[in-house]
Amino acid sequence: MGPTDRVLLRVERLRAGYGRVQVLWDVDLHVDRGEIVCLVGANGAGKTTLLRAITGVIPPRGAVAFEGSRIDARGTAAIARLGIAHVPEGRQLFPGMTVREHLELGAAFVPGAWDHRGETLERVYTLFPRLRERERQAAGTMSGGEQQMLAVARSLMARPKMLLVDEPSLGLAPVLVQAVFAALREINRQGVTILLVEQNVRQTLLMAQRGYVLENGRIVLEGPGPALLANDHVKAAYLGL
């Protein structure tokens, strides 16, 4: 196991929850370098909890390894500095700070990212031209779509190896959902591995190389995106067919 290993993130027998309520039961999952992997499932299946356990927002039990090294005992900030960027549920922006300040902070505490901030900023603005227009605006005064773009853009400023994205389409108009998905595809094309959590099952499975289906805290199905789309259980439970 080393930095050149094919697997970037490996999760084994992961259990996690809130207080006495266990949400995840022995979840196994891996994401290879360069992949887009999606995690689909109903509300309350444990998708958000899984992302939180990976980045240490809640304490995980079991093993989480990134580039071959265990990260499950580390704190959230330390995990972020390793190159895992988590775009969380609810975006978690700083309402009183400007777009520009968010982007600077995204690069400020991750080794290597600060020195390249000018170049990364240009790339992020190219991806989301809207943010360049709003550079001096406070995040709290922006629309939901703009805030979602800012949340993704802020995490990209760290030049992460891997992006965990939690329901980027939540609460967005369809045209903005398209824009966010297009941006994610472009980010992946630029070399960032993505683990995407979504309720928008069809579109996500079309975009992803592989997918996992999470039900009641357990992985019940996994496979290539198209194969999952053709699966009878997926069709019945998530696509209404």
Binding site: V57, P88, F94, F109
Partner: protein, 280 residues
């Protein structure tokens, strides 16, 4: 009258901006804030009496000492109640206040002490007014430090990280910001600012173990006027309090005594009329 009010507000800003930092960034209501000011005042006093160091020249040493003390207090006590109910946090800082006050009584007795620097009684004639040199110097320095803090919060990586942590702890930690370290820094800085204010007090007033409480209360009043946790409004809120006190002293018969109660009245009015604060 106006000028006295303005001059007074410098020290208020410095004291309250520290408290606002602790409340705004960490979410800790530090009832012992004034005690750090008191310790700074004693430090300034002893350095002057024992070594002849001017309290203003001693500010860097004093600030560093109180910063370290504040940091130690954070590590040993505050850090452990961050997730506890607010009542526990308040009891802790209130206890800390009583502890530090009594420690000072044991070490230095309750007698008020006065440090007489050479320029204590000097005054400058500015137009038709005669203003005390210590008051002018203290005002200038206090304002410079307050504005300096704003510059740090607005313009440096660490300062922005502090604001980010204040606005969204989870969002900040996901960017690689070590929240615990930011808290430590914010608390140390908060107490150091109080300590500096204390050292400045040695120039003008007497020093005793009991001076802390009044400044804690006034700093609270200023925070309420500014809006709780609103660091930017502190400077204006300090002006409001300083001017109101001066106003009462001059225009109310025997106002000298009443002036010390003005902050209480202001808290009441602001909470009734505009509980979110005047400067938000």
């Amino acid at each position: 009258m106006l000028i006295f009010g303005v001059l007074r507000s410098g020290l208020y800003s410095l004291t309250s901006v520290g408290l606002a930092l602790s409340v705004g960034v960490i979410g800790i209501v530090n009832f012992a804030h004034g005690e750090f000011l008191m310790l700074g005042a004693f430090l300034g006093y002893w350095l002057f009496v024992s070594y002849g160091v001017d309290p203003l020249a001693a500010i860097p040493i004093g600030a560093a000492a109180i910063f370290l003390l504040g940091g130690a207090v954070y590590q040993l006590s505050i850090r452990r109640v961050l997730r506890a109910p607010e009542l526990n946090q308040m009891l802790l800082t209130f206890g800390l206040s009583i502890f530090l006050q009594n420690l000072a009584i044991i070490l230095w007795t309750g007698d008020p002490r006065v440090a007489t620097v050479s320029y204590k009684a000097e005054a400058l004639a500015v137009g038709p007014f005669t203003l005390g040199v210590p008051q002018l110097v203290v005002f200038g320095l206090a304002m410079a430090l307050t504005i300096g803090l704003y510059a740090v919060l607005g313009g440096t990586r660490v300062g922005k990280a502090m604001r980010a942590v204040a606005q969204n702890r989870l969002g900040a930690s996901l960017l690689g910001i070590d929240v615990d370290r930011i808290y430590l820094l914010a608390f140390g800085l908060s107490t150091a600012l109080a300590g500096i204010a204390g050292m400045m007090i040695t120039l003008q007033l007497s020093v005793s173990p009991f001076i802390g409480l009044l400044y804690t209360l006034k700093a609270f009043a200023i925070m309420v006027i500014a809006g709780l946790g609103n660091i930017n409004g502190v400077i204006y809120a300090s002006l409001v309090l300083g001017l109101s006190e001066a106003f009462v002293e001059f225009y109310v018969p025997q106002g000298g005594g009443w002036a010390e109660g003005v902050f209480f009245f202001l808290i009441l009015v602001v909470l009734l009329v505009r509980p979110r604060g005047l400067f938000r």
